[in-house]
């Protein structure tokens, strides 16, 4: 059994070593991209069942963003929605025999957390302005500046570790049990992994929404002109 904490390159593209999480991520991206293109190819005002399901997913994501940020979800829909769908697809990819979910490797989780980290700062500055965004670190008082700066990193780190720990542990446990007990014993744990994967994808997306929303501030319109 391979350790989920180590990565071995599958092949190299020039100087770049391509590991398994990258390949699986490509497969997931291809699946989601092609599936989306096919599903949205013939959208109609009177929706079919499939279109209604897709619209339900998008509407739910919009409702979650609106409920959390109290603002128009359109600017954040692509990022939050994509992170949620990618995390969910990655977590559930463990159901395919021989496939390790990319989120079971810390590089994938760190990549998404890094994107959220950068997006938080970028939208904060765009909406509040540089001075306004920096002023948020002095809330409620300037004494809190060090703690707020540290929190900015620790919450991103916790975002990484939470997803990585849950998914990696699930894969690790299933691998151990599969090694020790046999073929059918891990099935209940795999079902549990489905639930855990969905919950972790939801938590990751919601926390990303909360972080960005906190940086933007309630009732601030993202489409507003940036403050000088």
């Amino acid at each position: 059994m391979k350790s989920p904490l180590t990565l071995e390159p599958l092949f190299h593209l020039g100087p770049v070593a391509v590991t398994e999480p990258v390949v699986v991520s490509w497969a997931i991206i291809a699946l989601l991209g092609i599936g989306s293109a096919l599903a949205t190819r013939r959208l109609a005002v009177l929706p079919s069942r499939g279109q209604a399901l897709i619209e339900l997913v998008v509407s739910t994501i919009d409702a979650q963003i609106s409920g959390t940020m109290q603002t128009d979800p359109a600017p954040f829909r692509a990022l939050i929605g994509s992170i949620f769908l990618f995390t969910l697809a990655s977590n559930w990819s463990s159901l395919i025999p021989g496939v390790e979910p990319p989120t079971a490797h810390i590089e994938t989780d760190a990549a998404m957390a890094l994107i959220v980290f950068v997006a938080t700062i970028a939208w904060g500055i765009r909406v509040r302005g540089l001075r306004g965004y920096l002023a948020t670190y002095a809330e409620p008082t300037w004494v809190m500046i060090p703690l707020n700066v540290v929190e900015q990193f620790t919450r991103t780190f916790s975002l990484i570790i939470r997803l990585f720990g849950n998914v990696m542990s699930g894969v690790f446990i299933i691998g151990i049990i599969l090694t020790l007990a046999g073929l059918l014993v891990p099935i209940p744990l795999m079902a549990l992994d489905l639930l855990t994967g969905a919950v972790q994808a939801y938590i990751f997306a919601v926390l990303a929404t909360v972080f960005i929303g906190a940086a933007v501030g309630e009732r601030h319109s993202v489409s507003a002109e940036p403050k000088p």
Binding site: P21, P47, A74, I115
Partner: protein, 248 residues
Amino acid sequence: MRIDWQTLALQTINVLILVAILARFLFRPVVAIMDERREAAAKLLADAETEKTKAVAAREAAETEAARIAASRDAVLREASEAANAQREAALAAAREEADQVRSSAETETRWARAAEESAASDRSARLAVDVARKLVARLPDQARIDGFVDGLAQALAALPEASRGGFGAGDAARLIAPRALTAAELQSTRDALAKALGRTVDFAVVVDPAVIAGLELETPHAVVRNSFREDLKRIAEELTRHDGKGL
């Protein structure tokens, strides 16, 4: 455990590419179709609201028109009622006037008819009285039908004006009309009475006429002296049948 920075960079790029792909092929078209549906629904609602507004306006216009028609109908009915009342009053007045005229005519005709009936009844009564008198006189003795009238004839002759009396029976032949043939004594007494009244004798021819009933009548071409029941009854009948209120 160590972090593979190349994998981290590739995964970061992968996630960003996925964000771009899903934004292009999933979220944008789905949101567009949802917005299109929302706009269509809003347009439908707006159209429905417009149609509703038009319908409300049309209904209000119809109600206004109905109220106007009702008012016009009431006015027409009122005018018609007033005209009908006026015509009825006029018809009643005309009918009343005509009825008055008819009643007046009927009353006049009734009066005339009553007067005619009264006149006819009076005539019948007079004729009846004359017939009764004629029948009663006819029962008198033949002698009484002559004797009692000789003196009366002489007195009537004597009462004539002198000019009439002088020419009476002088040239022309006189006729003595009697109800029956006179006896010789009656004829003689008559001659005597006439001679006494005229102061001269009078030659006359006796003519029998039962219509005289009783009495004598003396006629000449220029004068007549009557003393008979026929003449009396004739005069009585004339008096009875006069309708000028001056009769008997």
